[in-house]
Amino acid sequence: MAFASFNEFLAMGGHGPYVWTSWAVTAALLGGIVIHARSERRQLLRNLQRRARRERRLAGGRAPVSHQRGGHVDDT
């Protein structure tokens, strides 16, 4: 342990603001990147499922709907 007490650890021998700003910005960015990647994936899966449900409805509800496999259903 390079520090005698927790307060000394926070003070970083007077360089506390510099050390902690650098580390905090890094941690915040890395954390934000992970959160973004997770929500991106969830969102994509949700969209795919929503589209699958709609297609099942279209296919099951009416008489055979001509829709090409692999093509776009008109949505955005």
Binding site: G14, W23, L45, Q49
Partner: protein
């Protein structure tokens, strides 16, 4: 060998294989970053000249390494995409760019903060700092180019070309401290020669470095899988898979 590469190049294969690799890299990243942070912040001895401000090195150097490595990886992926038309390479390259920009920003920001107590200034137009700033703008350029085309293929090719041309900046960054007189100290971290700092300072730096690289690999795997879902959303296997993962 070739069949292996082409299988890996198929989005479906990549999606399956990366699912198995991904957790290991996340676990490694979490463990290494945790150990490295605690060791670097609390246990490594203070520098005899810089005191405790040197602890910025544990985020600064890994971020700077990764910023450059990601650009090289992006250029290589661009080359693979241009030569062999492997789409997964382009998807991975597209996902690397924002992380590379973030790493460049961390390196520049922590460097500026570190410069204040050490050099008495937060910015100098010297070779190392300027070439890193150019790297940041190159990342912005690659990201902007992807958004500037209505055709995905044109966007991918333009971004690949810029990455391959821009990679010339990497050796300039690396050797800037030797070629020009700069404030920035020469490389403090090498794996090839004996470390110039004591073991108790160098080991946590190595651990942080490996942690950052694991993070990069894990995130790129994860986001490339997302990109596959986005770009291949009309493919049958993607639809089936989305139904399964509901």
């Amino acid at each position: 060998m070739w069949t292996f590469i082409h299988k890996l190049g198929s989005p479906r294969w990549f999606y399956a294989i990366s699912a198995r690799l991904q957790p290991w890299f996340w676990a490694a990243a979490a463990l290494l970053l945790l150990v490295g942070s605690v060791w670097g912040l609390a246990f490594a001895p203070a520098d005899y000249q810089q005191g405790n401000s040197f602890r910025i090195i544990y985020v600064h150097v890994p971020a700077a390494f990764l910023a450059q490595s990601i650009f090289v990886a992006m250029a290589v992926a661009g080359l693979i995409f241009m030569v062999w038309k492997i789409k997964v390479a382009d998807m991975a390259a597209a996902m690397m760019a924002p992380l590379g920009a973030a790493m460049t920003f961390i390196a520049l920001f922590s460097g500026a903060v570190w410069g204040m107590p050490t050099w008495g200034t937060w910015w100098m137009w010297d070779a190392r700092l300027t070439s890193m700033l150019i790297l940041l703008f190159l990342y912005f350029g690659v990201i902007a180019l992807r958004g500037a085309f209505s055709s995905r293929d044109s966007a991918s090719r333009a971004a690949s070309v810029l990455a391959m041309v821009g990679v010339i900046n990497i050796p300039i960054i690396k050797y800037s401290v030797d070629w020009w007189y700069t404030l920035h100290q020469p490389a403090t971290f090498t794996v090839t020669s004996r470390p110039s700092m004591p073991m108790e300072m160098w080991l946590p730096l190595l651990i942080m470095l490996l942690g950052f690289y694991s993070f990069f690999i894990a995130l790129t795997l994860m986001r490339t899988r997302s990109e596959i879902l986005r770009r291949e959303s009309t493919k049958r296997w993607v639809r089936d898979l989305a139904a399964e993962e509901a």
